[in-house]
């Protein structure tokens, strides 16, 4: 015979549909988001890795000033590589956009057609998808490239430009202002020759070379090129940001999504636990009778564990299904919004299934089983007395004559508001007005549910604050760029060449490693610099440090720091003599003589210029990098472009989480007290007055939880932000504008008031007959 109790499961599900639907939807939505992300992430990472082979991605490339002749190509190929010409023309478009145009690729660095078709006529061009989308250029549109009109035949992704870095030395790519495109050979000819760049890609003949061997090979190629011609640039694949940046960045958000999932799962586990415990309290008499009739603790535990487990499992499977179908595309778009990726196929991800289905189910089941195990530790007698607290003899001692199973003062329940054994406490609380006392009692009696509500509100606040703070944080970072820029133009030179531009100020620069992640720029500047207002220390071993560097590593004036050279590993030790207000960069400043002494450079050494004007008498070949405001803002622009949608998703998700937690736990408290509510209605209290007692008690907890959560979530996010950035390169200062806090409170309270309306309906529905019926 099957256990007839199983029929209770389906009916409980129907009777408590609102609660279980809310839990199911929220859980499945959370799992769908994370599962979708993990599936997209796994599939795209696989596609990205596969693209190297599929599209025959180069092992390196070099750019020559002149077209390389056959003897040079042969000389390079003798080093063990095969060379492919990959010329491009860098053309200007409207509003300062730059387009790098290639001929359609066939042999190396292939392109993936994502939409439309490949160019077939000289007047057609296929644009990089991300660049086109960022600039609102659709397939079929006409674009003007350096005065020539082209019809956009399609969107492509070039395998060697998954991140649209214009120059390999750029701090960040900018997929709005720089793009790549392919056209037909005749179309390529239509463009002028003035912007023609002689780029050649190479592919190693031996594909099994180690990284070290590849570095050596690149060095040998470089030496060969220098011997035979004028090399403008040489980048091997391992150093090519346009190829590698995407791969390095992919998967970086995994831990964030998984952490987010498990926070929600733990909160959900406790919500399930509290709701199950409430069911046990409601059915305590029946449970006690069944236990007294011979049902074992294990049988009861398994029975009451079944429904939460079924709901969790169903939510996890549904979430996964949604993740694989609907959400995956949305999550893939997060990558497609940032990177020019080739197309991908969805892969079955065992890891995603384990992380988003198996582990959450186990976690929730364990939490619920622990709550049930704890509750079922008590004997049948306590269930019969409807006293689910552990200390059985406390009540017996107070009222040893109380017979089990008797009808209590409020129907079949013990009077929840008349715990006589706390008389002295009651006497003290008599100083409070009656309604306050009543609410206080409700809060204390439901402290577990309210505690979980507060914890849930805290986690929702963390998510909400994160969602609300990101946009202002990026804007703040952007504003710091304006404030922190040393000069409008900062030139880094390949060779020290003089210029005549007014106010161009020489400086010396050396890059040292702080650790494996971060590098820092050590500047040697003039004592009377017009660009940096600094009191430079006289000692060689003393430096002024940028505020960003000091903040990230928790340094203060007087501390000693040790840095090392990138390749030689030579160490340098400095004492921080002062702080310079430069939040976005890692920099140390010393006088030029001190710089020369420290790094053993000759007197008068320099390798860069600060300038307010563009230096026009400086030939490109002597310039390694020019850093302008737009370069510095690339980081914030890119963050904004790629993460813009996440801000809204996080905010929306947090509001839902607020509402769900408040709804589930507040309605649980109303349900639990239905008999008492029914009774006080009989006494003459109106629905509104009942709501003032029960809902306002919830309101008080919500407001307190919101206030504390706002404070605590700020502390938590500050700590998380710091630890997150410590694992990343660079520094973005933590920033939350004050206006965010009232916004958070308003959102939290709005969620509460909405739920309050729903609960009012529930209170209205509780009939007065309920208490009377239960007294029969």
């Amino acid at each position: 015979m099957k256990n007839p109790l199983r029929k209770r499961i389906g009916r409980e599900l129907r009777e408590e549909a609102g609660k279980y639907i809310a839990l199911f939807l929220f859980l499945s939505m959370t799992i769908a988001i994370v599962s979708g992300f993990l599936v997209a992430d796994d599939s795209m990472r696989y596609a990205y890795k596969q693209s190297f082979q599929k599209y025959n991605v180069e092992d390196g490339h070099f750019v020559m000033k002149e077209k390389a002749d056959a003897s040079l190509i042969r000389a390079v190929e003798r080093r063990g590589v095969r060379v492919y010409p990959l010329y491009y023309k860098e053309e200007s478009m409207r509003s300062g956009r730059t387009l790098r145009v290639f001929k359609s690729r066939t042999k190396i660095n292939g392109q993936d057609l994502l939409r439309g078709r490949m160019p077939a006529t000289p007047r057609e061009i296929a644009l990089d998808r991300l660049f086109a989308v960022n600039n609102d250029i659709d397939v079929g549109d006409t674009v003007k490239v350096s005065g020539h009109y082209f019809c956009v035949s399609g969107y492509v992704a070039l395998a060697d430009y998954s991140a649209l870095f214009q120059n390999n030395g750029d701090t960040m790519f900018d997929a709005t202002h720089f793009g790549v495109a392919v056209t037909t050979p005749k179309g390529f000819q239509r463009l002028g020759v003035s912007q023609l760049h002689y780029q050649y890609a190479w592919k190693n003949k031996d594909s099994s070379l180690t990284e070290k061997q590849q570095n050596k090979l690149a060095d040998r190629i470089g030496r060969t090129l220098v011997k035979h011609g004028d090399v403008e640039n040489l980048v091997q694949r391992g150093d090519n940001q346009a190829i590698n940046f995407t791969g390095d960045d992919m998967g970086g958000d995994r831990s964030m999504f998984i952490t987010f999932l498990y926070i929600i799962i733990v909160v959900m586990g406790f919500i399930f636990g509290v709701t199950t415990r409430t069911t046990l309290e409601r059915e305590a008499g029946a449970i006690g009778t069944l236990r007294a009739s011979g049902y074992t603790r294990g049988e009861m535990l398994r029975h009451y564990l079944a429904l939460p487990t079924i709901v969790t499992l169903a939510a996890a499977l549904t979430g996964n299904l949604l993740g694989y179908t609907v959400i995956k595309g949305y999550m893939a778009d997060l990558y497609y919004n940032s990177y020019s990726l080739t197309s991908y196929h969805t892969l079955w991800s065992g890891t995603a299934f384990l992380l988003t289905t198996v582990i959450p189910c186990i976690l929730i089941t364990i939490i619920d089983a622990l709550v049930l195990h704890w509750t079922f530790r008590i004997g049948p007698l306590q269930f019969l007395r409807r006293d689910l607290h552990r200390n059985v003899h406390r009540d017996l001692h107070y009222d040893g004559r109380r017979d089990m199973g008797r009808v209590g003062p409020y129907g079949s329940h013990r009077d929840p508001h008349c715990d006589g054994y706390r008389d002295s406490r009651n006497d003290r609380s008599l100083r409070l007005p009656f309604l306050s006392r009543f609410r206080l009692r409700i809060i204390l009696q439901n402290r577990t549910a309210y505690l979980i509500m507060a914890v849930g509100i805290f986690f929702a606040s963390v998510l909400l604050l994160f969602g609300l703070m990101l946009q202002p944080l990026i804007s703040h970072y952007s504003s710091l760029v304006d404030k922190s820029q040393i000069a409008r133009y900062q030139y880094v030179l390949k060779a020290p060449v003089p210029v005549r531009t007014h106010n161009a100020e020489k400086y010396a620069l050396k890059s040292l490693k702080v650790n494996e992640k971060d590098e820092i720029s050590v500047y040697g500047i003039r004592y009377d610099s017009i660009y940096l207002d600094l009191e430079l220390p006289d000692r060689d071993s003393e430096v002024i440090a940028s505020s960003g560097y000091m903040e990230k590593y928790g340094l203060k004036v007087g501390d000693r720091i040790t840095l090392r050279e990138k390749y030689s590993g030579k160490k340098y030790s400095f004492r921080i003599a002062g702080k310079y207000d430069y939040d976005i960069g890692f920099a140390l400043f010393m006088s030029r003589p001190a710089f020369e002494a420290t790094f053993q450079e000759y007197g008068g050494y320099f390798n860069g210029y600060f300038s307010d004007l563009k230096i026009r008498d400086l030939k490109d070949k002597y310039v390694s990098t020019v850093i302008t405001e737009s370069d510095l803002k690339k980081v914030s622009n890119q963050l904004e472009d790629s993460m813009g949608r996440i801000f809204d998703v996080l905010t929306g998700f947090s509001v839902l989480l607020y509402m769900l937690i408040i709804y589930l736990l507040a309605q649980l408290i109303v349900n639990k007290n239905s008999d008492a509510i029914s009774m006080i209605k009989i006494l003459g209290y109106s629905d509104e007055e009942v709501a003032k007692l029960y809902n306002r008690a919830t309101g008080i907890v919500v407001v307190l939880a919101l206030v504390f959560s706002t404070f605590l979530s700020t502390l938590l996010l500050r700590a998380l932000w710091k630890s997150f950035l410590l694992s990343m390169t660079g520094w973005i200062p933590f920033y939350i504008p004050h206006r965010i806090y009232p916004e958070m409170m308003a959102i939290g309270l709005a969620a509460y008031f909405l739920i309050h309306k729903l609960l009012m309906r529930r209170i209205r529905k509780i009939p007065m007959a309920r208490a009377l019926k239960n007294m029969d």
């Binding site: 015979m1 256990n3 007839p4 109790l5 029929k7 209770r8 009916r11 409980e12 009777e15 059915e283 008499g285 029946a286 006690g288 009778t289 069944l290 236990r291 007294a292 009739s293 011979g294 049902y295 074992t296 603790r297 004997g379 049948p380 007698l381 019969l384 003899h393 017996l396 001692h397 040893g400 004559r401 017979d403 089990m404 199973g405 008797r406 009808v407 079949s412 019926k773 029969d776």
Partner: protein, 232 residues
């Protein structure tokens, strides 16, 4: 004696606050008898019933049912004992709210390898017409019948009833008592019935009266009445 209690002591609390609720209880009940346990509130009758039911511990003493000692059994042993030998009926019916009458009785039947026919029992209980109803569609008497059905369906050796008529009106109380009597006769079930209604002693084979945790009376009833003839 089928059911034997020897020198049972039970108290709550420690030191000065210690309260003795049962003092040296020694008595027995014959198989198939109806034993009415009488006494005022706080006399210890329900605690004694719970000790028999294996859901309350003793300080000392022994309880044997059919020759088997139950004091000292572990949690699983007690569960098996209750499962095999006992049926419980309380004043509060303690039924499972989202199951029907029939399903509530089936919950009891599940505990036995050789349960009574649920359909036949529904007829005996007078619940056949109500078998598919939910509890909120039933009167108090019907709910108590259901709880008796749940206790009886597994053919327990002993039916423990704690104030089964305490929440019912006179007429319904008599019907319930008659039902308990029928169960006793039909299935030879030993019935221990806790009540503070003195009139019920007349339907008992044996009367145990407790006061302040001590047995004040342990008599057999020579002029037993049928439950239907009881008046109070």
């Amino acid at each position: 004696m089928y059911l034997e209690m020897n020198h049972i002591f039970k108290s709550f609390g420690d030191g000065e606050s210690r309260t003795e609720v049962l003092h040296d209880i020694t008595c027995g009940v014959e198989a198939g008898d109806i034993c009415v346990l009488l006494g005022p509130s706080g006399s210890g009758k329900s605690i004694l019933l719970n000790i028999l039911g294996g859901i309350e511990t003793v300080d000392s003493g022994s309880v044997c049912i059919g020759g088997d000692e139950i004091i000292g059994l572990d949690e699983n042993g007690l569960s098996r004992y209750r499962r095999r030998h006992l049926g419980y009926v309380f004043q509060a019916y303690n039924l499972i709210p989202n199951l029907t009458v029939r399903e509530n009785i089936e919950v009891g039947a599940y505990l036995s390898d050789r349960p009574l026919s649920v359909d036949e029992l529904l007829q005996v209980l007078g619940l056949w017409e109500h078998r598919n109803k939910k509890l909120n569609q039933l009167s108090g008497g019907q709910q108590q019948r259901t709880s008796i059905g749940r206790a009886v369906v597994k053919k327990p050796d002993v039916l423990l009833c704690d104030e089964p008529t305490g929440a019912l009106d006179y007429k319904t109380s008599r019907e319930i008592l008659k039902l308990i009597e029928d169960v006793n006769k039909m299935y030879a079930t030993t019935v221990i019935l806790v009540t503070h209604n003195d009139a019920l002693r007349r339907m008992a084979d044996q009367v145990l009266r407790l006061r302040d945790g001590r047995i004040m009376e342990n008599t057999r009833n020579a002029a037993k009445l049928r439950a239907a003839d009881l008046e109070w």
